[in-house]
């Protein structure tokens, strides 16, 4: 069967089916297909724990190598949850092995990022108070770059890349401006909330 059709058929298989194929045939190809579905999320989890891009990249590949052996020997009911626990434990062990700081500890320079994670709540704040006087006041308190990025992203619906092109900045910096601006905006609005 041509490879094109074969891959298309395999991509429609569920996690459990791919897992069963791998267990039955021991062909790593099936496991790779399965892992590719979650590799972005695994990378994110490793980033959150290790706080280092290169360490997270190495961890993602090491977890894959562990999977090759562990999937054959472990009884796995739900691969997704099992992979999450495996990835988390691996990164924690890696962190412990490197004798780095505890994961609960956040360096001061990273506190902005840590606070910025707060999910959709702050996004709702922006939506709710978009036309209010408080929001306008708080926006004025932001730095120019943060304010410009927030406005372009939330009210002009521009993407990071478009903002970066317009401001001649790196995409990563635009992300940082938006995250930090959003955090400061939330703090300001909570302070001024009636």
């Amino acid at each position: 069967m041509p490879r094109f059709f074969r891959i298309k058929a395999e991509s429609t298989l569920s996690d459990e089916e791919l897992l069963a194929y791998y267990r039955r045939t021991s062909e790593v190809h099936y496991l790779t297909l399965l892992y590719e579905r979650y590799v972005t999320m695994v990378y994110g989890v490793c980033l959150n724990i290790l706080r280092d891009v290169h360490a997270a990249e190495d961890a993602v590949m090491s977890i894959y190598e562990e999977l090759v052996h562990k999937v054959q020997t472990h009884q796995i009911e739900a691969f997704r949850g099992w992979l999450y626990v495996l990835a988390r434990n691996y990164c924690l062990m890696e962190l412990r092995r490197q004798k780095r700081v505890s994961i609960d500890y956040q360096a001061p320079e990273k506190m902005a990022y840590h606070d910025a994670v707060a999910s959709g709540e702050e996004f709702e704040l922006i939506q709710d108070y978009a036309d209010t006087h408080h929001l306008q006041q708080c926006l004025q308190k932001l730095s120019d770059k943060q304010r410009l990025c927030i406005i372009q992203f939330y009210w002009e619906n521009k993407s990071y890349r478009e903002i970066a092109l317009e401001m001649s900045e790196d995409i990563g910096k635009i992300r940082s401006y938006i995250q930090n601006g959003r955090r400061n905006l939330r703090l300001c609005m909570e302070k001024n909330r009636p």
Binding site: Y38, T40, M41, L47, A56, E57, V68, V117, R161, D170
Partner: protein, 372 residues
Amino acid sequence: MNPLLRDDDALFAALLERWAAGDFTRSDEETLHRLLANDPFRREAWKGFVALPAEAHAEVLERIKQQLAGQPHWRYTSWLPLRWIAAAIVLLLLGALYWWWTTPRINLDKTALTTPAPSAEEPNERPTALKIETSKQLSTSHAPVERVPSSNHVSKLPIPLVKDTESYALAREHVMADASVSEVPRETAQTEVQKHLLQVRTSQPEASPLDSQQVGGENQEVRYLRNTPPAFSEKYRNPAISAKPLDNQRRKEMYALREAEPRRNAALAKENLAQERTVVAQSSLICPADGWPNFIEHLKQAALFQRDTTPDSLLLRVRIQQNGFPVLLGIEPEVRPAERHRLQQILQRHRWMPADTSDVIRLILIKSTRGQ
């Protein structure tokens, strides 16, 4: 897995990649925040990405995917069974080595029997003249063996009663013992031994007694003689009797004897082994704490030094340690490693005195046969 969950995961991953690549918009953020609800895996992943917003995550993700795609399509094989197989092979080899090292082997090198090969003209007949050399033991305890007279020609191949080499050696001892008890002249005994050796060495299909009887003659008589106990064989060793044809009574006796033959052969062989050597142990300084008789009894039970090549005496250089434990320092003359090992074991079954002493134990191995 829930297909909706799977689709959401795919969407979430796509949004993360858009975020990393910079194509992320406000509507993407709305969707992403909706997907974060009640899912710790996605929430922690998102937390990781936003923790390092300025990094080039898109490149890293691309690199990871390339590495995964570049994985060869190899087949995972567990090495565990191979490890077990390798361990089993090693154990088997070690076991075989141990068995080979410790199992005593009968050395028949000194016994040379040469029989001329049958000629093409006489394919079914035995040669008329046999050249037989007996073992060292035979030649030392009895008169030298000369060529077998041509009158001892065996026209029909005999029945091999003892087929393997070990039994062959035991049977040889048995015949020698019989010969020594009886009053038959030494030359006659030697001739019987030679014939017996010939019979044992020759492995041929078993012939019926009646077939054998038709051959007749002195050789037939000899073949039955070796099956008989000493007292019984006395009667039939008389050349006058053996020359007569077998009557019915004798035939019945012979049948009965042949039936009881294997058990009797084994018993006699065992008895001969036990009585073959008498061991005397001497030492001027040291002795076993429980006395020499126990030590000698253990030596006898071990049935060591039953080979023809075993010397008449052995000198064991032994050192007695502080706790009375003996250490075998050397044996003169050298013996086989298996015998040395066994001897050391027997030595160490006893506590010796006096402690902290070195001495030589002289083991005198007296060769003896039954009746001597």
